[in-house]
């Protein structure tokens, strides 16, 4: 680093003022490139928006000649979308609730007591956050066959909770570390046990943090296709991610407009939740959700 800086110094150059013409040029260049990049990211998205309201949608991006909401009303049938969306809700909310409860319980001793197991435990689960979940799906399938959990929504809920648990424990522990212990001490003096202090004092104070954890687990579970695709067989139990895939396989090659409409309906909840989190609690938390795609 030092050698590098001396090299910079060695090159004689006129100091540039902040308002130099080169600065203006670089600003124009930056704006120009960003506009182009933005357009590249936008173009694929336009298709899904336009096709969903187009009566004769194809794979081309085109302004609808006949504007219609028929695609939406066509897919809004109980067995086609409403039941799968309900299943998605059950799976995602179930996984998120299990994760948050288990993570709060685990975070409490990790945050409040000093113990020999703290560090090894935290590093082991940090290792777990990196485990590629798609890699273990084949063994998970045969394990589920062995213990007779295949095609069970409860099994899927617990599996998805377990996969998001390492991340959730880390986040929850960090949120809990920022709750001052003096409040709990007051509760202990008043005769509360550790668990009731956790439930009545700590958890209410952590509500914003816990809602972030909840929403992230929810978003991950909502978008998860591979896990229910492998572990659930009965079409009546399948979430929207899987039913949209079967819909695509059966009608997708004909009903592009309906596919687009279905995609939008299915994506809306997570977009809303994401906006809520990134607006409310700060953009930096937004990144944690991506730990596992």
């Amino acid at each position: 680093m030092t050698t590098a800086s001396t090299r910079v110094d060695a090159a004689p150059r006129a100091p540039r003022s902040i308002a130099s013409p080169r600065r203006v040029v670089s600003k124009v260049y930056a704006n120009g490139v960003l506009v182009i990049v933005g357009l590249c990211f936008l173009v694929p998205l336009v298709w899904v928006l336009l096709a969903s309201v187009d009566a004769h949608a194809g794979f081309e991006t085109q302004l609808p000649k006949v504007f219609t909401l028929a695609n939406f009303s066509a897919v809004l049938q109980p067995e086609l979308t409403l039941l799968p969306l309900w299943n998605s809700l059950l799976l995602s909310a179930g996984a998120a609730i299990v994760t948050v409860v288990v993570a709060v319980l685990a975070a409490y001793p990790l945050s409040r007591y000093q113990a020999r197991y703290n560090k090894p435990y935290l590093y082991t689960i940090l290792f777990g956050t990196c485990l590629p979940i798609t890699a273990i799906m084949v063994p998970v399938y045969s394990l589920f066959v062995q213990v007779n959990l295949l095609d069970s929504m409860v099994g899927v809920i617990f599996f998805m909770a377990a996969t998001s648990l390492p991340m959730a424990i880390w986040m929850t522990k960090n949120f809990m570390d920022s709750v001052p212990i003096s409040l709990e001490e007051a509760a202990w003096i008043d005769g509360a046990s550790a668990m009731s202090a956790l439930g009545r004092v700590v958890v209410p104070l952590m509500r914003p943090g816990l809602s972030v954890v909840f929403i992230f687990v929810f978003i991950q579970a909502w978008g998860n296709f591979f896990v229910p695709f492998i572990l659930l067989l009965d079409p009546d139990k399948q979430p929207a991610a899987v039913s949209i895939y079967s819909f695509f396989g059966q009608y997708g090659a004909i009903a592009y407009g309906q596919l687009a409409a279905f995609s939008i309906l299915y994506s809306l909840p997570v977009i809303v939740l994401y906006v809520l989190v990134s607006r409310g609690i700060g953009g930096s938390f937004a990144m944690t959700g991506a730990m596992k795609g």
């Binding site: 930056a30 794979f59 081309e60 435990y121 290792f127 045969s142 880390w170 991610a241």
Partner: protein
């Protein structure tokens, strides 16, 4: 995110811990205190550690999807692993996975994400906000929807060929002729947001005085970036590279929707190959062997990642020579 909190949290102990440390705790009490950890330990053992261990056992059997070998698989020793390295499909798939990870994550997402984040420092605020929103939009969508959108975009009558036709060119059927290129571009579109946000946060933490000092010393734009900014955010860079590598290694849904690993096996990366062998060809044992290989690859990366985080004593100090360096630089200059 973890990367930022992790070392601080470990180094600086739980807040309660410090105060209560002085008190001696009886063994029974210590167990009682650890009790709330139990549900998490059970869940992690049953659903994460279980399958990992099982994969190494299952890979040694001839388990199949249907038939007699589904109920009571036989132990076949290393047969599946021998087959892995004699079957030309596996080395090809491994190579495709490496190409996919390097091209779409390490080059594509990482460089593009960094480029966007750097340009945003200079650009108009509205422009950079809109760009961020569009990049993030591709990432927030459920993966399967992103898959459909890319399928439509790259299909024969899709938007990409429409654009090419507008420029007077006839585009090929991307998903059949260039499946790897299509999924690589799709994954860049889908995943750049993550790198972009990591680098936005990292660049925000670089004090402007430092780059200004370098500018006064006469460093040009690229010199400032490569000699000053980049060394200061190197921890974010390595963390990001590790995480996007692991994510891309595990990508399944996007590829499955776009090409299903085809045509033939021309875009079968390891997760797709494992799925096809296990569930399309019904050979669970062989699919499990591929899974075991993936777990080992993932574990190697994870060990590096955890070691990387442990190395850093505390987040601020970790950025290393940064805060102290410019002072010395200024001294040299004066």
């Amino acid at each position: 995110m973890t990367t930022q909190i992790a070392p601080a949290a470990l180094g600086g102990r739980g807040r309660g811990g410090g105060r209560r440390a002085g008190r001696t705790v009886t063994r029974g009490r210590a167990w009682l205190r650890a009790l709330p950890l139990l549900p998490s330990v059970l869940l992690l053992l049953a659903f994460l550690a279980g399958p990992v261990v099982w994969s190494f056992y299952g890979a040694l059997t001839n388990a199949s999807l249907t038939g007699p070998a589904a109920q009571s698989p036989d132990f076949v020793g290393l047969d599946n692993f021998v087959r892995l390295f004699t079957d030309p499909t596996f080395p090809k798939s491994l190579l495709l996975t490496v190409v996919f990870v390097i091209a779409s994550a390490i080059i594509g997402q990482n460089v593009l994400g960094m480029w966007i984040a750097v340009l945003q420092l200079r650009a108009n605020r509205v422009v950079s906000a809109i760009t961020s929103t569009l990049v993030v939009a591709a990432w927030v969508l459920p993966e399967i929807v992103a898959g459909f959108i890319c399928y439509a975009y790259f299909s024969k009558d899709g938007t990409l060929n429409q654009i090419l036709a507008g420029l007077g060119m006839t585009g090929p059927n991307w998903l059949y002729s260039y499946p790897m290129l299509a999924i690589i571009l799709a994954n860049i579109w889908r995943g750049t947001a993550f790198s972009m946000m990591i680098y936005q946060a990292a660049l925000n933490d670089v004090p402007p005085e430092i780059t200004e000092a370098a500018m006064i010393d006469g460093a040009g734009g690229s010199q400032r970036f490569f000699l000053v900014t980049l060394p200061m955010i190197r921890t974010s860079v390595s963390t990001n590279l590790m995480l996007i590598t692991l994510q891309t290694l595990a990508a399944f849904t996007l590829i499955w929707v776009m090409t299903a690993g085809g045509p033939g096996d021309d875009s079968s990366t390891l997760p797709v190959l494992a799925y096809r062998e296990a569930f399309q060809f019904g050979d669970i044992g062989y699919g499990t062997a591929i899974a075991a290989v993936m777990i080992v690859i993932g574990a190697v990366f994870s060990v590096f990642y955890v070691a990387l985080l442990r190395e850093r004593p505390a987040p601020k100090v970790a950025e290393g020579p940064g805060p102290r360096h410019p002072a010395s630089e200024r001294e040299v200059a004066s």
